[in-house]
Symmetry: C3
Subunit: 343 residues, 3 copies
């Protein structure tokens, strides 16, 4: 797949300067791009990266019109433009449509005619696979589950019965959609299982990373709204709601019934306690534990600064005595105030 610069500008907009017939085969970082590859500079402060590039063309911010002599496309959003050019040049490979002879599809499952069901995939009774969706090798789609149109389930994805996934979803290998939430009633020191009869409902344009788990609801559904992006190894407990267009980095855990707003960004390995609400547009740092609702958008953190081991040990021991230290300071202040009050 190749495209000329003229074709790119016709498709994605931007202002073309230089040879529009230049043919582009691939995107690449500037330092190793070659004559049939296009690079980009996201912001003017990185323009020095252009100096030694051998790229065939570059995507530049508007104000960098004269930053080089290469054929170039000017745009207000170079990174986004680059993403779109890359998507054009790197369409996901499509296996042939139809059901592979080594797939196992229930007689009453509904497979849209252009869909592709890979070898070893198992599609349960009453399940629905939408138009043009690709179900990878060894995936399991449970009874009554519903996968929308234009979805891509990479190999070895598991969708439990009756869960629903919208259009254009990308699910990576090993992710598990709809396992039972962790719900037990205590009974004399033992635990009795509470059936998890809710589902997982996932909107359109959602991406779910490898080995991420999203549990089905206890009574209501767990809901992932449109445009949510989830990295790898995220755990989303039962009854959680993730608002539209929120992005969550890897290894984060979200406990039961938490309601995350729209357009939030959550760093890796964050932990969000259950039964709380987080405002739209909130930003949570890597490794941060959120234990109560955040009614106002903002940037929140509890990530510890690290030190050399020996230094840390010396400091950390005082964490166990902070209250005493604070009291000692108060005592000093009191004494000094008494002394200061004396004539």
């Amino acid at each position: 797949m190749t495209a000329t610069l003229t074709e790119l500008v016709a498709r994605f907009g931007g202002e073309l300067i230089g040879d529009g017939a230049r043919s582009i085969r691939q995107v690449a970082p500037l330092e190793r791009a070659t004559a049939d590859e296009i690079g980009f500079v996201a912001q003017s402060r990185y323009l020095a990266q252009l100096q030694h590039t051998r790229a065939g063309a570059v995507i530049l911010p508007l104000e960098a019109r004269d930053a080089c002599d290469l054929p170039r496309i000017l745009t207000a959003h170079p990174y986004l433009y680059f993403a779109r050019v890359s998507a054009l040049l790197n369409p996901p490979p499509r296996p042939p449509a139809g059901v592979h002879e080594r797939a196992c599809v229930a007689a009453d499952a509904v497979i849209a005619i252009e869909a592709s069901i890979g070898p070893g995939a198992v599609i349960g009774s009453g399940a629905t696979i939408g138009a043009r969706s690709v179900i990878g090798a060894n995936c399991v789609v449970g009874d009554g589950a519903k996968i929308g149109a234009d979805c891509l389930l990479h190999a070895s994805v598991t969708v439990y019965p009756h869960c629903e996934i919208g259009d254009r979803a990308i699910l990576h290998s090993g992710c598990v959609i709809g396992a039972d939430g962790f719900g037990f009633a205590p009974n004399d020191g033992m635990w009795e299982k509470i059936p998890q009869i809710g589902r997982v409902i996932i909107g359109d344009d959602v991406e779910v990373g490898a080995n991420t788990t999203i549990d089905r609801g206890a009574l209501e559904d767990t809901r992932i709204e449109n445009g949510v992006k989830l990295d790898n190894q995220i755990q989303i407990a039962h009854n959680v709601i993730i608002g539209a267009h929120t992005a969550i980095a890897a290894c984060t855990g979200i406990a039961g019934s938490a309601k995350i707003g729209r357009h939030c960004t959550i760093g890796g390995a964050a932990m969000i306690a259950g039964h709380l609400e987080i405002a739209d547009g909130t930003r949570i740092s890597t490794n941060t534990l959120i234990t109560k609702s955040l009614p106002e958008a903002g940037s929140y953190t509890s990530a510890l600064p690290f030190s050399e081991h020996a230094v840390w040990q010396k400091n950390a021991v005082h964490l166990r005595n902070l209250d005493k230290l604070a009291k000692r300071v108060k005592e000093l202040e009191k004494t000094m105030k008494e002394w200061g009050d004396k004539p």
Copy 2:
């Protein structure tokens, strides 16, 4: 599946007040329950939830006898009662007994006649599957492994060779039982593998969450005792012992040879160091790191409070100087004592 209130009380006990012929089809939260659904109030302080419910019946604590006019069941443990009613009304679906034609069962594996082996499942040589157990699609049960009776392995579970699982286990998709523990002998800057020749032995009534991993022992076995409940994405290293009826929330890691007591509860994303012992009945908070044995039951934590990012940054910098701060306070105290001692 439906049951009348009279049938419920006959089966589960409790005191029935009102129309025993009321037929119940499902459990539901009070705010959306309808005429053929039953809700519950766990404790008297939540009785206000009854005000606008349209539930057909409710389960109430004993002292709430007169809290509403609905048909109701009084019990000392409403949540537990609710769990049991839900379990009655929502039996896990059972695939047909027998070996699916797309399963692959070794000639010398022993499959109890009422068991169900799903499509794509692989049962190794000498493995045993107990009576009425369900092995989901694309599960792999290794050579010589043993699954008890009435177990439910959801799709895509992996059990390594020679591991043993008791009766009534529920294993969720993507969990891996019996991978090698992380054991290497250093050799001149490189690592030589130490064969992990122990097994994983899991008791009765254990539930293991999606994508949880339990490693086999190095020389001895890793052991999960009866009634243990493990959430998703938990990592249990080699030679760990988890005492009976302990419950562990998602994303927790337990390092090698740790011995966790019985009836403990461990919050999400906790980390337990290796080679330590934790007393029966201990409670460990979310995000807490336990680095030494806890010989006495109690509630332990090291979870950080979060702040607005800017506030946190200002405070966190002092963590690197706590020792100096403490010394400065000591110095102040000393000086003041000297001064105070002066006449």
Copy 3:
């Protein structure tokens, strides 16, 4: 499989004292070893463990020549010696060579003749499987992927298209090699996917734990160098480089484009931020967050000490006021200095 002590010394070196004809069937911990088993003592301070052992032989450090009357092998590295004896006595079981009739191998895949492809395994178009490698049940090896010689992929491993794995790799169940990195360009509050066109390149002698995920690069490749050992449930983001012979414990996350040195050891549940470099030979503690480059080898930590819950609460509240506390101490110092300066 058995070996006499004489055979062991012929193969692995060391000094034999006592009956060289003693036949050893298995390794075992000293406290439960029997007459045909061999135990070891790693260091002299543990020699008391010899007192009640019924082991048939022991491996001892050089200086422990006279520590017991058992047949014994003296060596400078007893733990390493023990590992090698165990590896000899416990060779990994090898399924028969060839492609299982229930495997699904693309017509143009290249399978070395001594390799073993298990039931339910799917090998993509143009993929290569090296000599003597074992591909477990229900594994998926994507189009154009390359697995070296003498590899062992346990059941249910997923390797995405075009990733490459060297010789003698061990990949545990549920690990996912080559899923898309987490890369999106923001567009007016939404996210547009950036195709991840790099690969994962894994060197020789690498072990990858169960449910560990290693993402493919965005433009360049993610690289895991020779001899790296990764425990379970580790997340390695796109474009990361892990230097040779580095070992990483379970549940650790490494963010995008981090470059980890060679011969590092990283404790469990550590988190390494993206776009930083860590020096060769660095040690990072369990639960530690590394947020900037570590240009010098050393031992780094930010792990919190835990306390009883009530004690912790009392201390932790001051973390939110550390800056104020530090200022109060400064104020006290200033006042005292003023007073002290007065005659």
